[in-house]
Subunit: 111 residues, 2 copies
């Protein structure tokens, strides 16, 4: 939403892809990365919209982290919204499960 | 088996990893590739041990194809055995399904 982007200092609002529009290759590629698996697992452990991007403790820099979130949005895995200077996150668990049954469960269960 | 390797002109017998020993990241990485998805789908359409590596019509060279089969073996997806000069293939569907329920189905269904 434009007003959210403005509130976040004119940062463009994040663009999302619905899981229904995601090819299976895109979904698998998004999940097949250790940093993104970490992000997904952390999101699954917290309530929707409670984690901002700065809350994720991953071993990559700011630009790389931003790229990883972009990949997750494009794969229909994460929804984001800006609130003030924070970008809040939600795992799109229900929609993603409907499109790719069982796939998230494989990533979230103990290996 | 050593005698198979000898029959295939001293080519070393292929080394396999059982799906039970495969981390989910390895399985996802193996599947998240268009050429390997093609190989898997072709295998699923044929009976076990009926396709040799030369039967797969993929858009990569011989060395790259060999690498892709190696990735599939390491992910517990494909079993191979040498018969004369041919390397025959089998999709490890049952074992892989037991380890990663539903994952192969997502790759094999129409996208």
């Amino acid at each position: 939403m434009p007003e959210q982007a403005a509130a976040a200092g004119h940062r463009p609002a994040p663009v999302h892809t619905h899981p229904d529009d995601v090819p299976v290759l895109t979904a698998l590629s998004a999940l097949a990365d250790p940093v993104r698996m970490d992000l997904i697992r952390t999101l699954a452990d917290h309530s929707d919209w409670t984690l901002s991007c700065s809350n994720f403790d991953v071993s990559v820099g700011r630009a790389a982290k931003s790229h990883h979130f972009s990949v997750l949005r494009d794969a229909g895995l994460v929804e984001q919204r800006d609130q003030g200077t924070k970008r809040l996150n939600r795992l799109r668990r229900e929609e993603f499960d409907a499109r790719f049954p069982g796939l998230l469960d494989l990533v979230l269960r103990a290996d």
